[in-house]
């Protein structure tokens, strides 16, 4: 198998190759490490490479394969977003604040992926503390979109999406607080799944907004996402908000049968504000599902237009508390020669956090302040309930809700950075899903002027299976998900 084909093969294919000993995990690992070495200088998708550790666990995986004691991901290379704590491996969260932070523990997701035999190659760049939609807020510099190096990969899991799209790994993890898996998946032409809130443990994931954060997989196919989701999911006694609900084997339950599947198209998503080319691509994908037997319905999510305002009160409010621990006292960045305690706090935080993080801390602090709590935070909580009820009502009529994953394709660097509101609009189709705690995925829906665009499928709580099945069918019937950037031209 040609090197290039190996780098763009889905996990399901690699499993087969490992199983019949066509390739070893060590060979695979070396191939991906080589790709990272070759392309990362131009893409900046990976912030930490663990070559030695990766090769050691690849050889261990090969021994297991030889013994026939394999697990679901034995020998499969993987990159984690640098928001997952990794024992003994620097975990930066894209911030100067944690530039040299080495956790003494693994996140539950990391533990589970290890237990399933996956080989960790390293850690992916990301927007600082997952705050951003373009990967321009990372202290370690912006990540470039492998489809067009002058464009952003999306964010905050932009490093993960770019690494996957550029063949640095066949499987990556991300987190999604307001669209941070689905939007970069859309902009980089990969499949990304945000599970139901509570499906995957948050323990060991550096918190941004605790009531919204959820980890999920990004991969080349819905099938791979199903495989990875099964490995990642499950109740965790260490995370009180992880759900006590059984985890199906999403992979073996995959089905191409979408006959009679009711797909709702919110009028609020397909209104005049939607870019006509995005509409065209999304509708083309939905037409494929319709051809396969799905039934399209127009539905209403009447409070959709409150989602951005609601999100940008709740998420910063929670973040303002979650990020209070970075005070220069126990770990993380500390300013030089503080004059006194006040100075230690002020300078450590002013120097350690970037502009967007500081903006959100200030917004969140304001929203929680005496005299504003009712008008902002409390009101936002009420609207959040109303938005959730919109979805509940809609799901009485349909099985899946569909829409765009992002308002457009990848945009050039700097084009939205000076305008926070324009940047926040990037997540207009994804935020409400986090507010309601629902599962959502983005699957490739073709290209616009050579740049990928995604179809978003939203499911009922804990019904990831149905949206995975729909994406699986779509990927069965089309080859949009197979499109990839020209890897040969990347480093040239």
């Amino acid at each position: 198998m040609a090197e290039n084909a190996l780098l763009t093969a889905p996990v399901s294919k690699l499993k087969q190759l490992l199983g019949d000993r066509t390739v070893s995990s060590e060979e695979l690992t070396k191939a991906y490490l080589a790709q990272i070495a070759a392309e990362n200088a131009s893409l900046n998708a990976v912030v930490t490479v663990c070559a030695e550790e990766a090769l050691a666990s690849a050889r261990e995986a090969d021994a297991q394969i030889a013994r026939g004691t394999t697990r679901s991901l034995t020998g499969i290379p993987l990159l984690h977003k640098d928001i997952f704590c990794t024992e003994g491996v620097r975990t930066t969260c894209g911030s100067r604040m944690l530039e040299s932070f080495v956790p003494a523990y693994d996140a539950t997701v990391v533990t589970k992926m290890k237990a399933e035999g996956a080989v960790m190659l390293g850690k992916c760049n990301m927007d600082e503390f997952a705050m951003g939609s373009s990967n321009e807020t990372s202290f370690f510099g912006p990540v470039k979109n492998p489809w067009d190096l002058s464009c952003v990969p999306g964010g905050s899991s932009g490093g993960s999406a770019a690494a996957l799209a550029s063949g640095m790994a066949p499987l990556v993890t991300g987190t999604d607080t307001g669209g941070s898996i689905r939007q970069p998946a859309s902009l980089c032409g990969v499949t990304g799944l945000k599970p139901t809130y509570g499906r995957v443990s948050r323990l060991g994931i550096i918190a941004f907004a605790s009531s919204l954060d959820q980890a999920g997989p990004m991969a080349r196919t819905a099938e791979d996402c199903a495989l990875a989701l099964t490995a990642m999911s499950g109740i965790d006694p260490g995370d009180s908000t992880s759900a006590d609900i059984s985890v199906p084997d999403f992979h073996s339950a995959l089905s191409t049968d979408v006959n009679g599947l009711r797909i709702g198209l919110p009028r609020e998503y397909f209104n005049d504000d939607l870019d006509s080319r995005v509409r065209e691509n999304v509708m083309a994908a939905l037409a494929e599902l319709e051809r396969a037997g799905a039934i399209l319905h127009d539905i209403d999510l009447p409070h959709s237009h409150y989602a951005i305002a609601t999100y940008y009160v709740i998420a910063p409010a929670e973040a303002s508390a979650n990020l209070a621990r970075y005070d220069g006292v126990r770990f993380g960045y500390r300013c030089d020669a503080p004059a006194d305690l006040e100075d230690l706090y002020q300078r450590s935080r002013s120097e350690g956090f970037g502009e967007e993080v500081q903006r959100r801390i200030l917004v969140g602090t304001y929203a929680l302040s005496a005299g504003f709590y009712d008008a902002y935070f409390n009101k936002a909580q009420q609207v959040r309930r109303v938005i959730t009820e919109d979805f509940q009502r809609a799901f009485e009529q349909v099985d899946v809700i569909a829409g765009p994953a992002a308002p457009g394709v990848a945009f050039p660097f700097g084009s939205k950075q000076q305008d926070p509101i324009a940047m926040y609009m990037e997540d207009i189709y994804t935020l409400a899903v986090n507010l309601a705690g629902l599962p959502g995925l983005s699957t490739p829906a073709g290209l616009i002027d050579g740049m990928p665009v995604g179809l978003q499928l939203i499911g009922k709580p804990f019904d990831e299976q149905t949206i995975l099945n729909a994406a699986f069918r779509l990927q069965n019937d089309t080859d949009w998900h197979l499109a990839c950037p020209d890897l040969a031209s990347l480093s040239s």
Binding site: C85, Y105, L203, T241, A321, S369
Partner: protein, 483 residues
């Protein structure tokens, strides 16, 4: 002008759990700095709290102990502020919906009456760590062993009108929580700390004056002194027409005065909001019933029972009951010896005195309840005179065996055999004819004095073992027969 003092108290009670409220670290007191702080206690990135069910149970136990309403759905909130010994930059507490809601706590006063105090609420929260300022030059040490220790903050309405009431409340509260087994109540180790909200108003006024809050007073004595001192300070200001500044103050025991904690009063905005990392605590009737079933007998009930069942005095009951170890000790001795009043006398008398002298608690007593009941039994059945009993008590304290062994070994048995005693009386009368003559000649008053001489001689001859009551009796008979 005469001022009425109005106070409400906030008590931070450390709950007696094995591990912390949100982590698995030990809550043991006195370990080396920071050895009992794990990644959760340190507020490390990605760490999450997991609620300790034992703390919830303790809180519910307290609520039922004071007959308060239990919040069926209580919620944790984040209280946001920066401080070096607050690792996460917020304290997890309960602000909007506490676990224990309103209740009434009946406080026994010294005069035997009950004084009802309205409990506003009691909520669960985590303790902060400790800043150590005096061990390092120009630096502050931080010890996070205490960070995450479960606390129950018990808040009252402004129902106190005197320092005595406040202290009586704290003592009763201390007694209650140790009875309930939800706290060790060790004030020296900070297990019970008190904030006092205090204001003055003109006698007869219904309006509340501007209050100050005295923080972190940790002994009954200091509470009393802090209140007196703050009363004097506020009264002095009001007398000369001044205004009280609403502020937080600290009590300085060395100077017996309170001082302002902050040079300028910054209105703290804690920006409370529901803690998204924890689920609400939902408590159903079955849970409440199960806790109710497991409630021990409480101090008020025990006091009533001691009066009725053992016939002890109100005063003795007020000393025996507050410390449940003491109450248990008493009850063991009273039951085993069948002599409750005598048991109470020994426990509150010689035993308490000896324990105080050696700075021991009742549970550390070298004389077990079983040993003391052996002594009490021998006093009750007349084997030991009170004088001999004190010797036996001292020997028990020294660990020389049980009362019967000591009596046998030292030959301390009281002689109550009437023929033996009669022989002694006869002998003393025969040996002291002059005194007998004086006795016969004397009037009633002098006779009493002279009979003391004879008793003394007999006790001396018997080495203290003669039964004094019987000797008196026999002596009287003999002397009367001679006159």
């Amino acid at each position: 002008m005469s001022w009425e003092i109005v106070m409400g108290l906030e008590v931070h009670l450390q709950l007696a759990t094995q591990s912390k409220i949100f982590s698995g670290s030990s809550t043991q007191f006195g370990a080396s700095p920071n050895v009992q702080a794990d990644a959760v206690d340190l507020g490390m990135p990605g760490m999450l709290p997991v609620l300790n069910e034992e703390a919830v149970r303790h809180a519910v136990t307290f609520g039922l102990g004071i007959g308060a309403r239990i919040g069926q759905r209580s919620v944790f909130d984040r209280k946001n502020y920066f401080y070096p010994d607050l690792p996460k930059g917020y304290q997890v507490s309960q602000f909007f919906a506490p676990i224990v809601c309103e209740g009434i706590f009946e406080v026994p006063l010294e005069n035997g009456s009950l004084y009802p105090i309205r409990i506003t609420r009691a909520h669960l929260e985590e303790d902060a760590g400790k800043s150590v300022h005096d061990e390092f030059a120009h630096e502050t040490g931080i010890d996070l062993n205490r960070a995450g220790t479960p606390l129950l903050e018990i808040v009252t309405e402004p129902d106190f009108r005197s320092a005595e009431q406040a202290v009586a409340y704290l003592k009763a509260l201390h007694s209650l929580v140790t009875y309930l087994g939800i706290s060790d109540g060790n004030m020296a180790e900070g297990s019970m700390r008190c904030d006092i909200n205090i204001s003055l108003r003109k006698q007869g006024s219904d309006e509340l004056g501007t209050r100050t809050e005295i923080k972190n007073v940790n002994s009954f004595r200091f509470v009393e002194r802090a209140i007196h001192s703050e009363y004097e300070r506020q009264a002095e200001i009001l007398e000369r027409g001044g205004a009280i500044t609403q502020e937080t103050r600290l009590y300085d025991a060395d100077k017996d005065t309170t001082r302002s904690m902050r040079s300028k009063e910054v209105a703290n905005d804690y920006r409370y909001f529901p803690e998204p990392d924890l689920l609400p605590i939902v408590i159903d009737e079955a849970y409440i019933d199960a806790v109710r079933q497991s409630l021990p007998e409480l101090p008020t009930a025990k006091r009533e029972r001691f009066l009725a069942e053992y016939g002890v005095s109100e005063y003795d009951a007020s000393l025996l009951v507050p410390n449940h170890d003491m109450a248990d000790y008493f009850e063991s001795v009273a039951r085993a010896s069948g002599a409750a009043k005598l048991a109470a006398n020994w426990i509150l008398g010689d035993l308490s005195a000896a324990l105080n002298r050696h700075e021991l608690s009742i549970t550390e007593s070298p004389i077990s309840a079983e040993l003391l009941s052996g002594l009490v039994s021998r006093v009750e059945d007349g084997t030991l005179s009170s004088k001999l009993a004190k010797q036996v008590f001292d020997a028990l304290w020294q660990g020389e065996g049980d009362a019967d062994q000591i009596i046998a070994a030292r030959g301390l048995k009281q002689v109550s055999d009437s023929s033996a005693l009669e022989a002694m009386v006869t002998e003393v009368i025969a040996n002291n004819p002059d005194q007998v003559a004086q006795y016969i000649a004397a009037d009633e008053a002098k006779r009493k004095k002279l009979s003391g001489f004879f008793v003394g001689q007999i006790m001396k001859a018997s080495q203290g073992q003669a039964n004094p009551q019987m000797i008196n009796q026999l002596l009287l008979e003999k002397l009367e027969s001679q006159s």
